[in-house]
Protein backbone atom coordinates (compact mmCIF):
# COMPACT_ATOMS: atom_id res chain seq x y z
CA UNK A 1 0.00 0.00 0.00
CA UNK A 2 1.13 3.52 -0.67
CA UNK A 3 0.52 6.59 1.38
CA UNK A 4 -2.29 8.89 0.38
CA UNK A 5 -1.64 11.39 3.15
CA UNK A 6 1.22 11.96 5.56
CA UNK A 7 0.95 14.71 8.15
CA UNK A 8 3.84 15.62 10.45
CA UNK A 9 3.58 18.08 13.33
CA UNK A 10 0.75 20.18 11.91
CA UNK A 11 0.10 23.39 13.88
CA UNK A 12 -2.58 25.97 13.27
CA UNK A 13 -3.63 28.99 15.31
CA UNK A 14 -6.33 31.59 14.86
CA UNK A 15 -4.87 34.64 16.55
CA UNK A 16 -3.91 33.56 20.03
CA UNK A 17 -6.12 30.47 19.91
CA UNK A 18 -4.07 27.39 19.09
CA UNK A 19 -6.49 25.02 17.38
CA UNK A 20 -4.12 22.32 16.12
CA UNK A 21 -1.14 21.51 18.35
CA UNK A 22 0.95 19.08 16.37
CA UNK A 23 -1.05 16.52 14.42
CA UNK A 24 0.65 13.42 13.03
CA UNK A 25 -1.35 11.12 10.82
CA UNK A 26 -0.89 8.87 7.83
CA UNK A 27 -3.65 7.60 5.58
CA UNK A 28 -3.01 4.73 3.17
CA UNK A 29 -4.51 4.58 -0.29
CA UNK A 30 -8.10 3.24 -0.23
CA UNK A 31 -8.23 3.68 3.50
CA UNK A 32 -11.10 5.38 5.32
CA UNK A 33 -10.12 7.25 8.46
CA UNK A 34 -12.79 8.51 10.85
CA UNK A 35 -12.02 11.60 12.91
CA UNK A 36 -14.00 11.80 16.12
CA UNK A 37 -13.87 14.27 18.97
CA UNK A 38 -15.90 16.99 20.62
CA UNK A 39 -16.91 20.15 18.79
CA UNK A 40 -13.96 22.52 18.90
CA UNK A 41 -11.39 19.74 19.04
CA UNK A 42 -10.03 20.80 15.65
CA UNK A 43 -11.55 18.26 13.25
CA UNK A 44 -12.88 20.81 10.74
CA UNK A 45 -9.78 22.97 10.92
CA UNK A 46 -7.62 19.92 10.27
CA UNK A 47 -9.60 19.00 7.14
CA UNK A 48 -9.56 22.60 5.91
CA UNK A 49 -5.79 22.68 6.37
CA UNK A 50 -5.42 19.52 4.29
CA UNK A 51 -7.20 21.27 1.40
CA UNK A 52 -5.17 24.45 2.08
CA UNK A 53 -8.35 26.39 2.73
CA UNK A 54 -6.62 27.52 5.92
CA UNK A 55 -2.94 28.43 5.76
CA UNK A 56 -0.81 25.95 7.75
CA UNK A 57 1.38 27.60 10.41
CA UNK A 58 3.86 24.82 11.01
CA UNK A 59 4.40 21.18 10.04
CA UNK A 60 4.52 19.29 6.77
CA UNK A 61 1.84 17.55 4.74
CA UNK A 62 2.20 15.25 1.73
CA UNK A 63 -0.70 14.12 -0.42
CA UNK A 64 -0.03 11.29 -2.86
CA UNK A 65 3.69 11.95 -2.47
CA UNK A 66 3.36 15.65 -3.28
CA UNK A 67 4.31 18.02 -0.48
CA UNK A 68 1.48 20.54 -0.21
CA UNK A 69 3.31 22.57 2.42
CA UNK A 70 6.27 23.17 0.09
CA UNK A 71 6.75 26.89 -0.54
CA UNK A 72 6.40 26.42 -4.31
CA UNK A 73 3.42 24.03 -4.12
CA UNK A 74 0.74 24.70 -6.75
CA UNK A 75 -2.37 25.26 -4.62
CA UNK A 76 -4.80 24.92 -7.50
CA UNK A 77 -3.20 21.69 -8.69
CA UNK A 78 -3.34 20.26 -5.16
CA UNK A 79 -7.00 21.14 -4.77
CA UNK A 80 -7.82 19.30 -8.00
CA UNK A 81 -6.66 16.09 -6.36
CA UNK A 82 -8.27 16.65 -2.97
CA UNK A 83 -11.98 17.27 -2.65
CA UNK A 84 -13.84 18.43 0.43
CA UNK A 85 -17.54 18.26 1.28
CA UNK A 86 -18.80 20.73 3.86
CA UNK A 87 -21.32 20.52 6.67
CA UNK A 88 -23.44 23.26 5.08
CA UNK A 89 -23.26 21.83 1.50
CA UNK A 90 -22.16 25.19 -0.01
CA UNK A 91 -23.80 24.50 -3.35
CA UNK A 92 -23.84 27.44 -5.76
CA UNK A 93 -27.44 28.71 -5.49
CA UNK A 94 -27.43 30.47 -8.88
CA UNK A 95 -26.63 27.31 -10.83
CA UNK A 96 -28.63 24.20 -11.56
CA UNK A 97 -27.52 20.89 -10.07
CA UNK A 98 -25.72 20.01 -13.28
CA UNK A 99 -24.23 23.51 -13.45
CA UNK A 100 -22.78 23.02 -9.97
CA UNK A 101 -21.24 19.74 -11.02
CA UNK A 102 -19.85 20.74 -14.41
CA UNK A 103 -18.31 24.11 -13.47
CA UNK A 104 -14.98 22.89 -12.09
CA UNK A 105 -14.45 20.04 -14.58
CA UNK A 106 -14.89 22.56 -17.40
CA UNK A 107 -12.91 25.46 -15.94
CA UNK A 108 -10.23 23.52 -14.07
CA UNK A 109 -9.82 20.25 -15.96
CA UNK A 110 -10.62 21.77 -19.34
CA UNK A 111 -13.37 19.30 -20.28
CA UNK A 112 -15.71 20.53 -22.98
CA UNK A 113 -19.33 21.07 -22.04
CA UNK A 114 -20.56 17.80 -23.53
CA UNK A 115 -17.97 15.70 -21.70
CA UNK A 116 -18.59 17.50 -18.41
CA UNK A 117 -22.37 17.06 -18.74
CA UNK A 118 -21.99 13.36 -19.56
CA UNK A 119 -19.72 12.81 -16.59
CA UNK A 120 -22.05 14.78 -14.30
CA UNK A 121 -25.18 13.00 -15.53
CA UNK A 122 -23.56 9.57 -15.06
CA UNK A 123 -22.59 10.42 -11.48
CA UNK A 124 -26.02 11.85 -10.68
CA UNK A 125 -27.70 8.72 -11.98
CA UNK A 126 -25.34 6.52 -10.03
CA UNK A 127 -26.44 8.23 -6.82
CA UNK A 128 -30.15 8.34 -7.67
CA UNK A 129 -30.26 12.04 -8.51
CA UNK A 130 -30.72 11.79 -12.28
CA UNK A 131 -34.12 13.48 -12.20
CA UNK A 132 -32.74 16.47 -10.23
CA UNK A 133 -30.24 17.40 -12.93
CA UNK A 134 -31.90 20.66 -13.95
CA UNK A 135 -33.29 21.73 -10.57
CA UNK A 136 -31.84 24.55 -8.53
CA UNK A 137 -30.35 23.66 -5.13
CA UNK A 138 -33.09 25.39 -3.12
CA UNK A 139 -35.65 22.99 -4.60
CA UNK A 140 -33.88 19.99 -3.07
CA UNK A 141 -34.03 18.53 0.43
CA UNK A 142 -30.96 18.83 2.64
CA UNK A 143 -30.07 15.22 2.00
CA UNK A 144 -30.33 15.68 -1.75
CA UNK A 145 -28.25 18.87 -1.58
CA UNK A 146 -25.52 17.09 0.35
CA UNK A 147 -25.52 14.22 -2.14
CA UNK A 148 -25.19 16.74 -4.96
CA UNK A 149 -22.26 18.32 -3.09
CA UNK A 150 -20.62 14.89 -2.90
CA UNK A 151 -21.20 14.33 -6.62
CA UNK A 152 -19.74 17.78 -7.32
CA UNK A 153 -16.60 16.76 -5.43
CA UNK A 154 -16.41 13.39 -7.19
CA UNK A 155 -16.75 14.95 -10.64
CA UNK A 156 -13.19 16.24 -10.23
CA UNK A 157 -11.95 12.65 -9.90
CA UNK A 158 -10.13 13.32 -6.63
CA UNK A 159 -7.51 11.01 -5.09
CA UNK A 160 -8.66 11.97 -1.64
CA UNK A 161 -12.09 12.95 -0.32
CA UNK A 162 -12.45 14.94 2.89
CA UNK A 163 -15.87 14.94 4.56
CA UNK A 164 -16.47 17.59 7.19
CA UNK A 165 -19.44 16.55 9.36
CA UNK A 166 -21.52 16.15 6.26
CA UNK A 167 -24.63 14.96 8.11
CA UNK A 168 -24.60 17.45 11.00
CA UNK A 169 -26.87 19.97 9.28
CA UNK A 170 -29.42 17.36 8.21
CA UNK A 171 -32.73 16.21 9.66
CA UNK A 172 -32.25 12.79 11.24
CA UNK A 173 -34.48 11.19 8.61
CA UNK A 174 -32.19 12.47 5.82
CA UNK A 175 -28.94 11.28 7.35
CA UNK A 176 -29.20 7.71 6.09
CA UNK A 177 -29.32 8.59 2.38
CA UNK A 178 -26.07 10.54 2.68
CA UNK A 179 -24.34 7.87 4.74
CA UNK A 180 -25.33 5.28 2.15
CA UNK A 181 -23.53 7.28 -0.51
CA UNK A 182 -20.39 7.40 1.60
CA UNK A 183 -20.58 3.66 2.33
CA UNK A 184 -20.85 3.12 -1.40
CA UNK A 185 -17.72 5.20 -1.99
CA UNK A 186 -15.81 3.35 0.73
CA UNK A 187 -16.74 0.05 -0.88
CA UNK A 188 -15.45 1.42 -4.19
CA UNK A 189 -12.04 2.08 -2.64
CA UNK A 190 -12.17 5.86 -2.28
CA UNK A 191 -9.58 7.22 0.15
CA UNK A 192 -11.44 9.31 2.69
CA UNK A 193 -10.95 11.24 5.89
CA UNK A 194 -14.30 11.67 7.60
CA UNK A 195 -14.95 14.02 10.51
CA UNK A 196 -18.19 12.85 12.06
CA UNK A 197 -20.42 12.77 15.12
CA UNK A 198 -22.11 9.61 13.86
CA UNK A 199 -20.22 7.04 15.91
CA UNK A 200 -22.16 4.06 14.60
CA UNK A 201 -21.30 5.14 11.09
CA UNK A 202 -17.63 5.69 11.94
CA UNK A 203 -17.52 2.20 13.39
CA UNK A 204 -19.09 0.69 10.26
CA UNK A 205 -17.27 2.48 7.52
CA UNK A 206 -13.84 3.48 8.86
CA UNK A 207 -10.78 1.25 8.72
CA UNK A 208 -9.24 3.37 11.41
CA UNK A 209 -10.59 5.90 13.88
CA UNK A 210 -8.63 8.80 15.33
CA UNK A 211 -9.77 10.66 18.44
CA UNK A 212 -8.93 14.34 18.53
CA UNK A 213 -8.76 16.32 21.70
CA UNK A 214 -7.54 19.89 22.07
CA UNK A 215 -5.79 19.91 18.74
CA UNK A 216 -3.95 16.62 19.07
CA UNK A 217 -4.66 13.06 18.03
CA UNK A 218 -4.86 11.46 21.43
CA UNK A 219 -5.49 7.94 20.25
CA UNK A 220 -6.04 6.03 17.04
CA UNK A 221 -6.79 2.46 16.16
CA UNK A 222 -9.20 0.09 14.45
CA UNK A 223 -12.82 0.97 15.23
CA UNK A 224 -13.56 -2.26 17.13
CA UNK A 225 -10.80 -1.47 19.60
CA UNK A 226 -11.45 2.29 19.78
CA UNK A 227 -15.12 1.92 20.56
CA UNK A 228 -14.96 -1.07 22.92
CA UNK A 229 -11.58 -0.75 24.64
CA UNK A 230 -10.16 2.75 24.26
CA UNK A 231 -6.73 3.03 25.85
CA UNK A 232 -7.07 6.64 26.95
CA UNK A 233 -9.23 7.86 29.77
CA UNK A 234 -10.26 10.96 27.74
CA UNK A 235 -11.44 8.80 24.83
CA UNK A 236 -13.51 6.71 27.23
CA UNK A 237 -15.07 9.84 28.76
CA UNK A 238 -15.92 11.19 25.31
CA UNK A 239 -17.53 7.93 24.23
CA UNK A 240 -19.48 7.70 27.50
CA UNK A 241 -20.89 11.16 26.88
CA UNK A 242 -21.85 10.18 23.34
CA UNK A 243 -23.60 7.05 24.59
CA UNK A 244 -25.37 9.05 27.30
CA UNK A 245 -26.59 11.45 24.60
CA UNK A 246 -28.02 8.50 22.68
CA UNK A 247 -25.83 9.09 19.65
CA UNK A 248 -24.46 5.56 19.47
Amino acid sequence: MTEAVRVEGLHKSFGSLEVLRGIDLTVEDHEVVGLIGASGSGKSTFLRCLDLLEPIDRGRVWVEGMEITAPDADVNLIRRRIAIVFQSFNLFPHMSVLGNITLAPMKVLGLDEGQARDRGTDLLERFGLGDKRDDYPDRLSGGQQQRVAIVRALAMGPDLLLLDEVTSALDPVLVAEVLDVIRDLAAGGMTMVIATHEMGFARDVANRVAFLEEGRILEEGPPEQMFSEPREEATRRFLDRIIAAGRM
Partner: protein
Protein backbone atom coordinates in the same frame (compact mmCIF):
# COMPACT_ATOMS: atom_id res chain seq x y z
CA UNK B 1 -60.78 55.20 1.91
CA UNK B 2 -57.34 55.76 0.49
CA UNK B 3 -58.89 57.32 -2.59
CA UNK B 4 -61.12 59.66 -0.57
CA UNK B 5 -58.32 60.88 1.66
CA UNK B 6 -56.06 61.44 -1.34
CA UNK B 7 -58.71 63.47 -3.16
CA UNK B 8 -59.45 65.57 -0.07
CA UNK B 9 -55.75 66.17 0.56
CA UNK B 10 -54.98 67.25 -3.01
CA UNK B 11 -58.13 69.39 -3.19
CA UNK B 12 -57.05 71.23 -0.02
CA UNK B 13 -53.64 72.04 -1.47
CA UNK B 14 -55.17 73.22 -4.76
CA UNK B 15 -57.68 75.44 -2.96
CA UNK B 16 -54.97 77.03 -0.82
CA UNK B 17 -52.78 77.64 -3.89
CA UNK B 18 -55.54 78.94 -6.17
CA UNK B 19 -57.00 81.28 -3.56
CA UNK B 20 -53.59 82.80 -2.76
CA UNK B 21 -53.10 86.46 -3.75
CA UNK B 22 -50.28 85.73 -6.21
CA UNK B 23 -52.00 82.80 -7.93
CA UNK B 24 -52.86 84.60 -11.14
CA UNK B 25 -49.34 85.80 -11.79
CA UNK B 26 -47.88 82.46 -10.68
CA UNK B 27 -50.00 80.44 -13.06
CA UNK B 28 -49.20 82.80 -15.90
CA UNK B 29 -45.43 82.53 -15.29
CA UNK B 30 -45.12 78.88 -14.41
CA UNK B 31 -48.18 77.03 -15.71
CA UNK B 32 -48.75 78.78 -19.01
CA UNK B 33 -50.33 76.21 -21.33
CA UNK B 34 -49.57 77.96 -24.67
CA UNK B 35 -45.96 78.43 -23.58
CA UNK B 36 -45.78 74.78 -22.58
CA UNK B 37 -47.04 73.56 -25.95
CA UNK B 38 -44.64 75.94 -27.65
CA UNK B 39 -41.54 74.64 -25.89
CA UNK B 40 -42.37 70.91 -25.63
CA UNK B 41 -41.03 69.90 -29.09
CA UNK B 42 -37.75 71.85 -28.78
CA UNK B 43 -37.08 70.70 -25.23
CA UNK B 44 -37.96 67.16 -26.34
CA UNK B 45 -35.31 67.28 -29.06
CA UNK B 46 -32.79 68.63 -26.54
CA UNK B 47 -33.74 65.82 -24.15
CA UNK B 48 -32.34 63.38 -26.70
CA UNK B 49 -28.94 64.77 -25.68
CA UNK B 50 -29.68 63.83 -22.04
CA UNK B 51 -30.63 60.35 -23.17
CA UNK B 52 -27.37 60.01 -25.08
CA UNK B 53 -25.44 61.30 -22.10
CA UNK B 54 -26.88 58.88 -19.61
CA UNK B 55 -26.92 55.86 -21.90
CA UNK B 56 -23.24 56.25 -22.76
CA UNK B 57 -22.35 57.07 -19.14
CA UNK B 58 -24.33 54.14 -17.74
CA UNK B 59 -22.61 51.57 -19.93
CA UNK B 60 -19.18 52.93 -18.98
CA UNK B 61 -20.10 53.15 -15.29
CA UNK B 62 -21.32 49.53 -15.25
CA UNK B 63 -17.99 48.29 -16.59
CA UNK B 64 -15.57 50.62 -14.79
CA UNK B 65 -17.30 50.38 -11.39
CA UNK B 66 -17.02 46.60 -11.51
CA UNK B 67 -13.29 46.98 -12.15
CA UNK B 68 -12.86 49.38 -9.22
CA UNK B 69 -14.87 47.10 -6.91
CA UNK B 70 -12.85 44.03 -7.87
CA UNK B 71 -9.59 45.95 -7.33
CA UNK B 72 -10.80 47.02 -3.91
CA UNK B 73 -11.60 43.41 -2.99
CA UNK B 74 -8.14 42.05 -3.88
CA UNK B 75 -6.74 40.25 -0.84
CA UNK B 76 -3.32 40.29 0.75
CA UNK B 77 -0.69 42.92 1.55
CA UNK B 78 0.75 42.91 -2.01
CA UNK B 79 -2.33 44.67 -3.34
CA UNK B 80 -2.49 47.26 -0.57
CA UNK B 81 -1.44 50.18 -2.83
CA UNK B 82 -4.12 49.23 -5.38
CA UNK B 83 -6.79 48.94 -2.69
CA UNK B 84 -5.71 52.27 -1.26
CA UNK B 85 -5.86 53.94 -4.64
CA UNK B 86 -9.32 52.53 -5.36
CA UNK B 87 -10.54 53.59 -1.92
CA UNK B 88 -9.11 57.11 -2.34
CA UNK B 89 -10.85 57.43 -5.70
CA UNK B 90 -14.27 56.34 -4.41
CA UNK B 91 -13.98 58.58 -1.33
CA UNK B 92 -12.92 61.59 -3.34
CA UNK B 93 -15.53 61.40 -6.07
CA UNK B 94 -18.36 60.57 -3.71
CA UNK B 95 -17.27 63.58 -1.66
CA UNK B 96 -17.00 66.29 -4.31
CA UNK B 97 -20.30 67.81 -5.50
CA UNK B 98 -21.02 66.59 -9.03
CA UNK B 99 -21.43 70.13 -10.28
CA UNK B 100 -17.82 70.97 -9.30
CA UNK B 101 -16.46 67.97 -11.18
CA UNK B 102 -18.43 69.03 -14.24
CA UNK B 103 -17.11 72.58 -13.96
CA UNK B 104 -13.53 71.47 -13.39
CA UNK B 105 -13.45 69.08 -16.33
CA UNK B 106 -15.89 70.82 -18.68
CA UNK B 107 -14.18 74.17 -18.43
CA UNK B 108 -10.73 73.20 -17.13
CA UNK B 109 -9.69 70.34 -19.36
CA UNK B 110 -10.29 72.14 -22.70
CA UNK B 111 -8.61 75.27 -21.30
CA UNK B 112 -5.36 73.34 -20.98
CA UNK B 113 -5.22 73.31 -24.79
CA UNK B 114 -3.28 70.06 -24.87
CA UNK B 115 -2.89 68.53 -28.31
CA UNK B 116 -5.25 65.61 -28.78
CA UNK B 117 -7.38 66.35 -25.73
CA UNK B 118 -10.97 66.73 -26.93
CA UNK B 119 -12.53 70.17 -26.51
CA UNK B 120 -16.14 69.04 -26.85
CA UNK B 121 -18.19 69.90 -23.75
CA UNK B 122 -20.30 66.78 -24.40
CA UNK B 123 -17.18 64.61 -24.10
CA UNK B 124 -16.14 66.17 -20.78
CA UNK B 125 -19.71 66.03 -19.52
CA UNK B 126 -19.73 62.26 -20.05
CA UNK B 127 -16.30 61.92 -18.40
CA UNK B 128 -17.46 63.89 -15.34
CA UNK B 129 -20.65 61.89 -14.88
CA UNK B 130 -18.74 58.63 -15.35
CA UNK B 131 -16.10 59.62 -12.77
CA UNK B 132 -18.68 60.56 -10.15
CA UNK B 133 -21.12 57.70 -10.67
CA UNK B 134 -18.43 55.02 -11.03
CA UNK B 135 -17.43 55.87 -7.46
CA UNK B 136 -21.00 55.33 -6.21
CA UNK B 137 -21.68 52.21 -8.23
CA UNK B 138 -18.30 50.68 -7.27
CA UNK B 139 -19.46 50.81 -3.65
CA UNK B 140 -22.74 49.14 -4.62
CA UNK B 141 -20.82 46.36 -6.37
CA UNK B 142 -18.50 46.00 -3.38
CA UNK B 143 -21.40 45.63 -0.98
CA UNK B 144 -22.80 42.96 -3.30
CA UNK B 145 -19.50 41.08 -3.47
CA UNK B 146 -19.16 41.18 0.31
CA UNK B 147 -22.71 39.90 0.77
CA UNK B 148 -21.80 36.58 -0.84
CA UNK B 149 -20.84 34.26 2.01
CA UNK B 150 -17.20 33.26 2.40
CA UNK B 151 -18.23 29.58 2.30
CA UNK B 152 -19.12 30.00 -1.39
CA UNK B 153 -15.53 31.00 -2.09
CA UNK B 154 -14.25 28.07 0.00
CA UNK B 155 -16.39 25.70 -2.04
CA UNK B 156 -15.18 27.17 -5.33
CA UNK B 157 -11.52 27.22 -4.34
CA UNK B 158 -11.72 23.68 -2.96
CA UNK B 159 -12.77 22.50 -6.42
CA UNK B 160 -9.55 23.92 -7.82
CA UNK B 161 -10.93 27.13 -9.28
CA UNK B 162 -8.49 30.03 -9.12
CA UNK B 163 -9.34 33.14 -7.13
CA UNK B 164 -10.32 34.94 -10.32
CA UNK B 165 -12.48 32.02 -11.55
CA UNK B 166 -14.22 31.88 -8.16
CA UNK B 167 -14.97 35.58 -8.40
CA UNK B 168 -16.05 35.38 -12.01
CA UNK B 169 -18.28 32.30 -11.90
CA UNK B 170 -19.44 32.07 -8.28
CA UNK B 171 -19.26 35.42 -6.47
CA UNK B 172 -20.12 37.99 -9.15
CA UNK B 173 -23.21 36.26 -10.59
CA UNK B 174 -24.72 36.10 -7.09
CA UNK B 175 -23.60 39.63 -6.20
CA UNK B 176 -25.01 41.21 -9.37
CA UNK B 177 -28.46 39.72 -8.77
CA UNK B 178 -28.62 41.31 -5.35
CA UNK B 179 -27.41 44.76 -6.37
CA UNK B 180 -29.74 45.45 -9.30
CA UNK B 181 -32.17 47.63 -7.28
CA UNK B 182 -29.53 49.86 -5.60
CA UNK B 183 -27.67 50.04 -8.90
CA UNK B 184 -30.76 51.29 -10.74
CA UNK B 185 -31.28 53.77 -7.94
CA UNK B 186 -27.89 55.29 -8.66
CA UNK B 187 -28.75 55.38 -12.35
CA UNK B 188 -31.86 57.35 -11.48
CA UNK B 189 -29.58 59.95 -9.88
CA UNK B 190 -27.28 59.89 -12.88
CA UNK B 191 -30.16 60.50 -15.27
CA UNK B 192 -31.29 63.56 -13.32
CA UNK B 193 -27.74 64.85 -13.01
CA UNK B 194 -27.39 65.01 -16.79
CA UNK B 195 -29.17 68.37 -16.40
CA UNK B 196 -26.06 69.72 -14.64
CA UNK B 197 -23.97 69.57 -17.78
CA UNK B 198 -25.92 72.57 -19.09
CA UNK B 199 -23.48 74.60 -16.98
CA UNK B 200 -20.58 73.88 -19.32
CA UNK B 201 -22.44 74.68 -22.50
CA UNK B 202 -24.08 71.44 -23.56
CA UNK B 203 -27.51 72.24 -24.95
CA UNK B 204 -29.72 69.63 -23.33
CA UNK B 205 -33.27 69.74 -21.98
CA UNK B 206 -32.56 72.04 -19.02
CA UNK B 207 -30.47 74.45 -21.10
CA UNK B 208 -33.13 74.47 -23.83
CA UNK B 209 -35.75 75.30 -21.18
CA UNK B 210 -33.55 78.17 -20.04
CA UNK B 211 -33.20 79.45 -23.60
CA UNK B 212 -36.95 79.31 -24.21
CA UNK B 213 -37.63 80.87 -20.84
CA UNK B 214 -35.32 83.84 -21.30
CA UNK B 215 -36.81 84.50 -24.73
CA UNK B 216 -40.31 85.05 -23.31
CA UNK B 217 -39.58 85.85 -19.63
CA UNK B 218 -41.79 82.92 -18.71
CA UNK B 219 -40.74 79.93 -16.61
CA UNK B 220 -43.16 77.39 -18.10
CA UNK B 221 -40.54 75.83 -20.46
CA UNK B 222 -38.91 74.34 -17.34
CA UNK B 223 -42.15 72.45 -16.83
CA UNK B 224 -41.52 70.87 -20.22
CA UNK B 225 -38.01 69.91 -19.05
CA UNK B 226 -39.41 68.36 -15.87
CA UNK B 227 -42.02 66.51 -17.91
CA UNK B 228 -39.37 64.68 -19.97
CA UNK B 229 -37.26 63.77 -16.94
CA UNK B 230 -40.28 62.40 -15.12
CA UNK B 231 -41.27 60.45 -18.22
CA UNK B 232 -38.00 58.50 -17.91
CA UNK B 233 -37.38 58.40 -14.17
CA UNK B 234 -40.81 57.45 -12.82
CA UNK B 235 -41.08 54.19 -14.79
CA UNK B 236 -37.54 53.35 -13.63
CA UNK B 237 -38.48 54.08 -10.02
CA UNK B 238 -41.53 51.81 -10.38
CA UNK B 239 -39.30 49.09 -11.86
CA UNK B 240 -36.91 49.34 -8.89
CA UNK B 241 -39.79 49.04 -6.42
CA UNK B 242 -41.12 46.04 -8.27
CA UNK B 243 -37.71 44.34 -8.25
CA UNK B 244 -37.27 45.01 -4.53
CA UNK B 245 -40.71 43.57 -3.74
CA UNK B 246 -40.07 40.54 -5.91
CA UNK B 247 -36.70 40.02 -4.25
CA UNK B 248 -38.23 40.20 -0.78
CA UNK B 249 -40.98 37.76 -1.71
CA UNK B 250 -38.45 35.38 -3.15
CA UNK B 251 -36.26 35.47 -0.08
CA UNK B 252 -39.28 34.81 2.13
CA UNK B 253 -40.24 31.75 0.14
CA UNK B 254 -36.62 30.69 -0.17
CA UNK B 255 -36.81 30.63 -3.97
CA UNK B 256 -34.04 31.56 -6.35
CA UNK B 257 -34.49 31.08 -10.09
Amino acid sequence: MALTSTVVFIAAIVIVAVSSPGWEEFSFKFLNVPELLESLPGVGRAFLVNIQLFLIAEVLVLILALGVAVLRSLPGPVFFPIRLLAAAYTDLFRGIPTVLVIYALGLGAPALQIQGVPKSPFFWAVVSLVLVYTAYVAEVYRAGIESVHESQVSAARSLGLTRWQSTRYVVLPQAVRRIIPPLLNDFLGLQKDTALVALVGVVEAFRQGQIDSSATFNFTPFLATAFYFVLITIPLARLIDWLVTRDRRRRQTGGIT
